[in-house]
């Protein structure tokens, strides 16, 4: 299971709930927009990642299988 978080940058409106629920991976910049750490999600954090995806008010966050290239 190698899953990666992806942000739809156009839809994202900087609500920031994702950073509240997954601070290990997501931080906010000076304007409240997410900075996502590169790499796959550690297995221990996967459930939190799913909650972060569900919590996004605009459905901008998705969890996808790691893409090649």
């Amino acid at each position: 299971m190698r899953e990666q978080l992806q942000v739809d940058r156009i839809r994202c409106d900087g609500h920031g709930l994702c950073a509240e629920l997954l601070p290990e991976v997501i931080a906010l910049d000076d304007w409240g927009y997410p900075i996502v750490k590169a790499g796959t999600i550690a297995p221990a954090l996967l459930e939190h990642a799913r909650q972060a995806v569900a919590a996004c008010p605009v459905l901008a966050l998705t969890l996808a299988q790691r893409l090649e290239g």
Partner: protein, 404 residues
């Protein structure tokens, strides 16, 4: 060996179909089948700025097109310092059309779109007329669409978005145009110079030249065809030489970066040698910054332009570039806030990869190069003074048109 701009002088206007056929002969339609392989073997790099291998792009579209693909010849040329695309369209429209037709046959496309910047009037007129000259063999497969003004209108997903929905703003990728583009079909978005170069490759040429646009402190500004391993010194010499001492070169346009003149003067401008030093030819813009001109001010003007050209869809680009712009202006005016230099250094590392397109990446890449090349000047400006005599004259955009 034919080159992109060989033939009648550029000032003579568009080369007619008759003259084009006299020089090149008929379009080698059969060459389309083997063309992808030859492009891959030749390692021809795209000329739109990203330098993506042309053969690989055509291969990706061909694998998906199923004879329902689309070719979008990208002549938007939103980069203000670049004149080469409008020049080649205005002077050699048939070479561009050859490339587009070969591409359509090679990848399996039944629709060819020429996406020409609305402000490039000579280019648009030449392309329109050339398309009528060839209406017989184009058989209604080709159309010309005016690209709206604006820096991002030429970005590949923006071009596709405009054709699909009249909105020239980039979209989220994936899917990229080669997977789903115009009308949902696999689309080859290719720069017009790249298509012209491919047309030369189809005729057995090695396409060993590239178009550059010279501007700034060089005697002859405008478009020049250069050999791929020419050095900057040789290119400047072909341009009549430098008119005053130069401190740095803007390599590749607003999307490229500043390079100290000493680091690049004797360097071949071939993609490989540039990449080894962390530079890129981009869309071939070579702007020579005189020693007496302030690099901080020149950069502030460029950043101001890029910030204004944000599609304003993504927060990091809209707010990040906006803040960087404000701080760069203050620095240029020597009235910076105490943390401005530190802040732009921090912000310029934070924006890359966080927009839907590469616009923030390009802008921050340019800024980082400026912070490196003009480090002493930035330090001086932060403390409130400037060692250069002359402010940057106008935007680094004022140049003579190469083709009327």
């Amino acid at each position: 060996m034919d080159r992109l701009l060989s033939g009648p002088p550029l000032t003579a206007g568009a080369e007619s179909y008759g003259a084009h056929q006299q020089r090149f002969g008929l379009l080698p339609a059969a060459a389309a089948r083997s063309l992808i392989g030859r492009l891959e073997a030749s390692n021809l790099a795209g000329r739109g700025g990203a330098g993506f291998p042309v053969g690989r792009k055509w291969r990706a579209v061909a694998e998906r097109a199923n004879r329902k693909g689309v070719v979008l010849a990208n002549g938007a040329e939103g980069e203000p310092l670049s004149l080469k695309d409008r020049t080649i369209m205005a002077a050699r429209p048939h070479l561009v059309i050859d490339g587009a037709v070969l591409a359509a046959d090679a990848v399996g496309a039944d629709d060819i779109i020429f996406y020409v910047g609305a402000e490039h009037q000579a280019a648009e007129a030449a392309m329109r007329y050339a398309l009528t000259e060839r209406s017989a063999d184009l058989r209604g497969r080709a159309r010309l669409i005016q690209a709206p003004r604006g820096y991002v209108a030429g970005e590949e997903s923006a071009a596709v978005h405009f054709v699909n929905a009249g909105d020239a703003r980039p979209t989220i990728t994936p899917p990229r145009p080669f997977e789903r583009g115009v009308g949902g079909r696999p689309t080859l978005v290719q720069n017009v110079e790249s298509l012209a170069a491919a047309a030369l490759v189809a005729r057995g040429d090695d396409a060993g030249t590239s178009l550059a646009t010279l501007s700034g402190a060089v005697r002859r500004t405008g478009v020049m065809e250069i050999g791929l391993d020419a050095t900057l010194a040789e290119v400047a010499a072909s341009g009549g030489g430098l008119v005053r001492p130069v401190q740095a070169v803007l390599l590749g346009g607003y999307f490229g970066g500043w390079v100290d003149i000493k680091d690049v003067w004797a360097l071949p401008l071939a993609p490989g040698s540039l990449r080894a030093r962390g530079h890129a030819f981009g869309c071939g813009v070579l702007y020579f910054l005189a020693e007496e001109t302030c690099g901080v001010e020149a950069t502030a003007r460029i950043i101001g332009y890029l910030a204004s050209q944000s599609a304003r869809q993504c927060g990091p680009c809209l707010f990040g570039l906006g803040a960087i712009d404000a701080a760069c202006r203050r620095l240029a005016a020597r009235s910076a806030q105490p943390d401005d230099l530190k802040r732009i250094a921090r912000w310029s590392g934070q924006l890359a990869g966080r927009g839907a397109c590469k616009h923030p990446d390009g802008a921050t890449g340019l800024l980082r190069s400026a912070l490196g090349v003009f480090a002493d000047d930035y330090a001086a400006h932060q403390r409130g003074f400037c060692v250069h005599r002359a402010p940057a004259v106008g935007r680094p955009v004022a140049m003579a048109q190469a083709v009327a």
